[in-house]
């Protein structure tokens, strides 16, 4: 049992609540569609509630612990709520709730399969967030990985199948690497892969070659999920193929599961000091930089909106990795905050893309002339988030970039600031045209027609609009009142204080 932790079933509740959805699906099967779907939402909402009630005590520095099973000495399946895990679970439970709500009206066929797997993935992800050790994390992570396959190929088009195939290939490869990493870590770490401490003391005794093997396997294994180039191949295919709420989750949360794993590796298993001593963090950082720049360049060339967003996600997730490998307090803080901030922005963007797709049937940016007049609310939300992505204050995007930049200076590496600036420029270069096309072009504009009137009729569906608006508001609100307890900064700075005492 980790030191100072309270034994409690609280961590188990958010993992169990989503299973209400499965129960509902199993009971009703073909009847009461609406009720069934609302019960699914209730499951995810309860899960979020169960997470949020822990907030005050987590802010007080309490930790919770719950043992599910102990396989052998030192290898147990157990849950452990520390600040970092709680932070991730808070983000993902919230996202999950909103996306489930959105899905109710978005998904129009095979609801049972979709919602069952959606709920299962949510449950597994919270389990992963609350894992006490790498072994448990891997179990939940892997179940989540394969559980999200049906979400990706939900449309069952040829493109979706291809994307699903690619996803599986990458996922299996990554998981095998990860498995290898955990086993070698378990062996050289003296039978311990727990997250209780900030750096395994036993690991320091291992040989450098062993440490390098472990570290690189971990990074490569999680790197597949976190889409570090050149392991990003599945992302640009999976996002456009999946239904929009699923893309939002993929980008907002599932990609983060990889980044979160890397956090656990760097903070809890290796520890900042050992990683510094190993001296390979800069290699990872270089990969992250390359990813940040290249992904933005690729994004420029995409005409498919969701594909462009997917490339954008690849770049943005690498911000997290970059922040972690800067080895400075502010950089780490920025990386951790990016996890939540990017989730808010990108989920909103994808949900907007979903609204566009459903209401106008348009996928490509070049077709979206005047879409801002057809769907004003969504496009305004979209614009807010897009500007936030670019890094315009006051928004969450700005906070992240500021922190990362300050971290780079703190680490004495201004070159990272340059990378961030270049990336911001590129972000602007691929996001602003979308806004431009949506609001400043319309059918017949070249012939001198006046722009069409704003049309609110298409946006009557509250199930879809409420999540979009909430997310867009949060992007601004969190960006302004940064220090409110419970917002990312409060939790992230606690983690950063622990990592850099």
């Amino acid at each position: 049992m980790p030191e100072g932790a309270v034994r409690s079933v609280m961590p188990l509740l958010p993992i169990l609540f989503p299973w209400i959805s499965l129960l509902a699906i199993a009971i009703f099967r073909r009847r009461a569609l609406r009720l069934r779907l609302w019960l699914c939402f209730a499951g995810s909402a309860l899960s979020f509630l169960a997470v949020i009630v822990l907030l005050p005590s987590v802010l007080d520095g309490k930790t919770y612990y719950f043992k599910l099973a102990s396989i052998v000495e030192g290898l147990e399946i157990s849950l452990y709520v520390d600040t970092l895990g709680y932070y991730f679970s808070l983000v993902l439970a919230f996202m999950w709730m909103l996306c489930t709500l959105y899905s109710i009206s978005y998904i129009d066929h095979k609801q049972n399969r979709y919602f069952a797997f959606l709920a299962m993935c949510g449950s597994f992800l919270i389990g992963a967030a609350y894992s006490r050790n790498m072994f448990t994390y891997f179990i939940f992570y892997e179940m989540m990985t394969f559980g999200s396959y049906p979400l990706i190929i939900h449309e069952e088009t040829a493109m979706a199948r291809r994307a699903g195939y690619k996803y599986l290939v990458y996922a299996i490869g990554g998981d095998v690497l990860l498995f290898f990493a955990i086993i070698t870590n378990y062996f050289w770490g003296g039978g311990n892969v727990n997250f209780d401490q900030w750096g395994l003391p036993t690991l320091a005794a291992a040989s450098k070659a062993a440490l390098l093997t472990i570290f690189s396997s971990y990074i490569a294994g999680f790197g597949v999920k976190a889409a570090i180039m050149p392991l990003h191949g599945w992302v640009p295919d999976a996002h456009p193929a999946a239904p929009s709420p699923a893309s939002a989750l993929l980008s907002g949360v599932i990609l983060k599961a990889g980044a979160f794993g890397i956090m656990r590796v760097i903070f809890n298993l290796f520890g900042i000091d050992l990683m510094k001593e190993l001296g390979v963090h800069w290699v990872v950082a270089v990969f992250a930089c390359i990813t940040i720049v290249l992904a933005s360049v690729f994004a420029l060339t995409q005409d498919n909106l969701k594909r462009r967003l997917a490339y954008s996600s690849i770049g943005q997730v690498s911000y997290i990795i970059l922040g972690l490998t800067m080895v400075s307090r502010d950089g780490t803080l920025g990386g951790i905050m990016q996890l939540a901030h990017h989730a808010l922005m990108k989920a909103c963007l994808f949900l907007c893309a979903g609204v566009i797709l459903v209401r106008t049937g348009k996928k490509n940016i070049s077709d979206m002339k005047g879409v801002g007049y057809q769907l004003p609310v969504s496009m305004i939300c979209f614009s807010v988030c897009a500007l936030a992505m670019v890094g315009t204050p006051p928004s969450v995007g700005f906070i992240t970039k500021w922190m990362l930049g300050s971290g780079a200076m703190e680490a004495g590496l201004p070159v990272y600031v340059v990378v961030l600036l270049v990336s911001s420029l590129l972000n602007a270069a691929y996001f602003l045209p979308i806004i431009y096309v949506a609001f400043f072009r319309w059918e017949g504009d070249e012939e001198g027609h006046h722009h069409p009137a704003l049309d609110f009729n298409s946006e009557r569906d509250p199930l879809m609009m409420v999540p979009v608006v909430i997310l867009a508001l949060l992007v601004v609100v969190v960006g302004i009142w940064v220090t409110v307890p419970g917002f990312p900064l409060s939790l992230a700075s606690r983690v950063a204080d622990l990592v850099f005492p």
Partner: protein, 495 residues
């Protein structure tokens, strides 16, 4: 009666023998009762086994001298935890398979042979139980012969020409290997003067005849490699396992080859103990290489199969490689992984073959292509298949994950990282061939006329065992902690 549980292991072995002997007469009186009676005898056997829970001292064993003759003079049963564990696995899987058999066999096997089928089935299960717990090398041979003869015949029981040919091929490779076991036992006996495993272990170390010991070990390992279908000697397996009736495929693939692999562990750890490893090192190295080759070969071949059961059969070759690699890691983790893998592979493989049997029973489909869109008609079978495939790949939280963890960990601990990599590549291959089928079943539209919309699951007596096994893969994954500690202790005891 306190202490009566001492007798249970031998009763578990002999009650099905007894039952098998009663069956022909029962069949003469009332043929319909035969399947039920067989299930009854196996159930008694398994039921007795459950009384032994907690009775085996951790890290120790129950010794049962038959006829009361103390070990080197009489035959001894040595029930350590891994033996008990496998015995229960045999009992459980056999029970599921025998219940499954009733409807399936009615369809595939012609009436006059059904009794013989059940007789052989009981003998096969019981001899496997005897095989894993016996403490005497000659008795090992006898049990292995009952096992082999019954499995040769069960492959051919349909009388179909391909089946007979496959059975003959099996016999042609199996019989010489049986003789080799006898030869190996003879060589061992000639330099030690004893047949009891514990006694042999004590005497092997300090007898002077090095060459004879090396030869006997090599011969025994080679012979058991044939029975366990380890890579270059696997030729009989794909035909035999894919052509046999499905419940028999389940038994053969899930248990028969696996207990033969376990025999290698028995010979290595209980007879040629740690002290004699100087003698057997080279053979073990060769065995490990063969195992690694088997993992890759079996996996790759499985990917290219068109026939559903053939694919599962090749997958067995791959998984026997896993077991061998676990044994040759020569540390408690590796052995634990191997034993646990025998269990979970047995359950999952039996389940896969039963799923295949369900398709054959309902539709006569054998090709993987024909499974496209199968879930519309047979959703439960498809789900069961997916769960079992989950375990075969080794994904958490199934039992396959636990054994894969220990196998890989054992290899890493033994400093044999390349073998760890091979094991992982093996699981990638498994993912490829399993996901293809799962993908066809769930995500592909059915070909015209293959599958309709109406639900047509296999009858309950076939679906229930299938489901029981597929859930068991989850059970042994989630509750693996109940067994692993004892298994690790038992394995440490062996070393």
């Amino acid at each position: 009666m306190s202490g009566a549980y001492r007798h249970f292991p031998i009763l578990m072995v002999t009650i099905p023998f007894f039952g098998a002997a009663l069956l022909p007469f029962l069949a003469y009186l009332r043929r319909k009762a035969v399947p039920w009676a067989s299930a009854f005898f196996l159930a008694i056997s398994g039921g007795l086994g459950t009384f032994l829970v907690g009775k085996i001292p951790p890290g120790g064993h129950l010794s049962y001298p038959l006829g009361g003759w103390e070990p080197p003079y009489g035959i001894e049963l040595r029930v350590d935890f891994s033996g008990y564990f496998l015995m229960m696995a045999v009992a459980g899987i056999s029970l599921a398979a025998v219940i499954y058999s009733r409807r399936y066999i009615e369809k595939e096997v012609e009436g006059g042979r059904i009794t013989a089928y059940y007789v052989l089935f009981l003998l096969m299960s019981a001899s496997m139980m005897g095989f894993v717990i016996t403490g005497d090398v000659f008795n090992l041979f006898v049990m292995m012969e009952i096992l082999s003869i019954s499995s040769y015949a069960l492959v051919a029981v349909t009388g179909n020409r391909n089946a007979v040919r496959a059975a003959f091929k099996y016999l042609l490779m199996g019989a010489p290997s049986s003789i080799m076991v006898l030869l190996g036992v003879g060589l061992l006996y000639s330099v030690t003067g004893t047949l009891n495993m514990a006694d042999l272990a004590a005497r092997v170390g300090d007898t002077g005849y090095r060459e004879v010991l090396i030869a006997s070990y090599a011969i025994l390992v080679l012979a058991f490699m044939v029975k366990a279908a380890v890579f270059p000697l696997h030729l009989w397996l794909p035909d035999a396992h894919s052509i046999a009736p499905s419940p028999i495929s389940a038994m053969l693939s899930g248990l028969v080859v696996a207990v033969s692999a376990f025999a290698v562990a028995r010979i290595t750890f209980s007879v040629f103990t740690v002290h004699a490893w100087g003698l057997v090192g080279t053979t073990l190295e060769a065995l490990a290489v063969a195992g690694a080759a088997a993992v890759l070969f079996g996996g790759i071949m499985a990917i290219y199969q068109k026939d559903f059961k053939m694919m599962i059969a090749y997958s067995t070759i791959s998984h026997m490689g896993y077991v061998v690699l676990g044994i040759t890691a020569l540390n408690p983790e590796g052995i634990t992984g191997a034993v646990y893998h025998i269990l979970d592979h047995g359950i999952a493989k039996a389940c896969l073959f039963m799923c295949a049997g369900n398709f054959i029973y309902r539709k006569g489909f054998r090709k993987i292509e024909q499974l496209k869109g199968a879930w519309r008609e047979m959703p439960w079978t498809c789900f069961a298949f997916s769960l079992a495939a989950w375990s075969i790949i080794g994904l958490p939280p199934s039992a396959g994950f636990i054994s894969k963890w220990y196998l890989v960990y054992g290899s890493v601990r033994a400093g044999k990282v390349p073998y760890a990599v091979v094991l992982l590549v093996g699981s990638i291959l498994a993912a490829v061939y399993c996901f293809r089928v799962v993908y066809y079943m769930f995500f592909q539209p059915a070909k015209e006329g293959d599958w309709g919309e109406r639900l047509s699951e296999a009858p309950a007596s076939m679906s229930v065992p299938t489901w029981a096994l597929s859930l068991a893969t989850l059970f042994f994954g989630v509750f693996s902690y109940l067994f692993l500690d004892s298994l690790l202790k038992a394995a440490a005891q062996l070393l």
